[in-house]
Amino acid sequence: MSLHYAPGETPVVVTPLGFVVLDAATPASLASRIRGLVADGRGLGGVIEALTEAHGVSLAAIPPFAVALVEGDSVRFAVRGDITLAVEAHDGAVEMSGSGVTTWNERMIPGVTRISVAASPSARPAELVVFDGVVLASVIEWDAASRAVSTADSAGFDELWGETIVRAPAHPAAEDTVEVSVEIAGDHDGQTISLAQARAMRAAPHDDAAEHDSTPTPLAPPRPPAPGRIRVSSGQVVVLDRTVVIGRRPRSTRVTGTDLPHLVAVDSPQQDISRSHVELRVEGDSIVATDLRTTNGTTLLRQGAEPLRLHPGEATIVVPGDVLDLGDGITVAVEHLP
């Protein structure tokens, strides 16, 4: 992933795997640490971890951020705070915002062609290129069209075992600039909550859910190492100390190192349930559930709220008390650790 940018004051972390827009007040050491974590493939979890360590575990203290990580043909986005991010994809323009969300807004978008971020309105054109590193930017642009551009010259590339890739910039193909704007605000949105508040809410998740009607309420206070466990209606109880994939014949995606997900197989006589149906993973202090683009979907049941069908491929934060309905009589209850 390479980015074009114009100089400014907003730290932007760029790695071959994706980029992270940070708050202007972010110390350089923290930005460098985040660059290392993202480059190591630690993903969103790594970013959250680094920010939590730096700013304390209070949710309210975590500054706004925007994360974009390439995963196969899709890009995983996570946006926190008063940031609006519009993305151009094959399916059309998409806007993403972190406002009104207590933690952050996360989404997978396939076929992304262009992302650009305007941190300040009177910015210069994004003409400088960066492949890997941390830059201070006012405007950044990422263009998938560069994948069709040949990789200029490779002369001088002799680092046989290096992790670093150096190549001449490929300029984005001349095409209509898609309007994408992101406003990076220094302050949070007034809806953030403190750790104590989050704990109180977790203790009474039902009341909270009722207030927010069908919108899944993202909140999950930290309690490392495992923020909870799940109980499958077929009897299995699994502690969420690592990612769990539930399905008829679940499969793990690529994992570096031995931290393979726990695979939970469930019977589905009517084959209503997909082979890999739903994933539960721990992101920082939260439990997030993702329907793995299944045929028949996954429904989130939260007391006091209307049943909500999970958006395929998009992470939704779940809390103890929530129940996921996979179909064919199989449900998964999210529970506190005893």
Partner: protein, 281 residues
């Protein structure tokens, strides 16, 4: 290799050739239940050969088991890496090797392929006629493709295509990638060094895997074909066929998920979805 009680009972074929340009075959392989692994050594002056053989020898100690866990496999990997790093000057010092393949695993009684990869050797799975590349190369070219900087067509010609980003030894401390894939009866796994895909594209590989029912004949023909097309590198191919797979599910997994139908309630627990059941009974 028929072992009652194994979660996956497999038969295999294996073939290897130094190719037409290299004096030495630096590839090593292990094909004995429950491990099917290929290591492609690099380093010159036979050092690569020593490195790949050392890694395979370390894993050879795990043969004969019904299945292995990822922790057992990873422990063997760590021992193998230590051995490669400790190779003495003149006999492998500084050399490296790739490693890829599949190991039979038992996940709560069900048969799984535990696939692993480090470097640019490859593991493929042929399932119901569809060839899927399971492993993802640790190479500069693959990183460029992943980042959208390079398309697959250009990648085949890219001068950096032999530059890998992780290996055992050779100064790399990279970790392997692992995958857990539910095994199915009839699965055909192909484990090979990069000399095979370097000469044969995916369609060419798939055609041979489908045409040759016998795994040994398939492995031999893959290697022969790669040699005939230039044999610019060492070529090794392991073909592993799953004869039986243990699964606790009472339902045949020969069918994918079916959409809900208004009549779904009428289908009892042992019945396949209506459209499919009609043909079977």
């Amino acid at each position: 290799m028929n072992r009652t009680g194994a979660t996956v009972v497999a038969v295999h074929g294996a073939a290897t050739d130094a190719g037409l340009r290299r004096a030495v075959n630096e590839d090593s392989f292990l094909a004995a239940a429950p491990l099917y692994l290929v290591a492609d050594g690099m380093g010159g002056h036979q050092a690569g050969e020593i490195a790949s053989a050392a890694v395979i020898d370390e894993f050879a100690g795990l043969t004969g088991r019904m299945s292995l866990t990822v922790d057992e496999v990873h422990a063997a990997f760590l021992r193998a890496r230590h051995r490669v790093e400790a190779l003495p000057p003149g006999a492998g010092a500084g050399a490296g090797t790739t490693l890829t393949g599949v190991v039979v695993a038992d996940i709560e009684g069900e048969g799984y392929w535990l696939a692993l990869n480090l470097g640019d050797s490859r593991t493929y799975r042929l399932s119901r006629g569809v060839l899927e590349q399971v492993s993802v190369d640790h190479s500069v070219v693959q990183e460029l493709i992943d980042s959208g900087s390079l398309d697959a067509v250009s990648a085949a010609q890219d001068p950096r295509r032999n530059v890998i980003t992780r290996a055992i030894g050779a100064g790399s401390d990279g970790e392997p990638d692992y995958w857990l894939i539910p095994a199915e009866r009839g699965d055909r796994m192909l484990v090979c060094s990069d000399g095979l895909p370097g000469e044969l594209d995916a369609d060419g590989i798939r055609e041979i895997l489908i045409a040759e029912a016998d795994p040994q004949r398939a492995a031999t023909r893959l290697v022969d074909e790669a040699v005939r097309r230039g044999g610019r590198d060492n070529i090794t191919a392991l073909v592993v066929d799953a004869l039986t797979v243990r699964s606790r599910s009472t339902v045949s997994d020969d069918h994918d998920t079916t959409p809900p139908s208004p009549d779904a309630d009428e289908i009892d627990g042992d019945t396949r979805p209506r459209a499919l059941a009609a043909g079977g009974s």
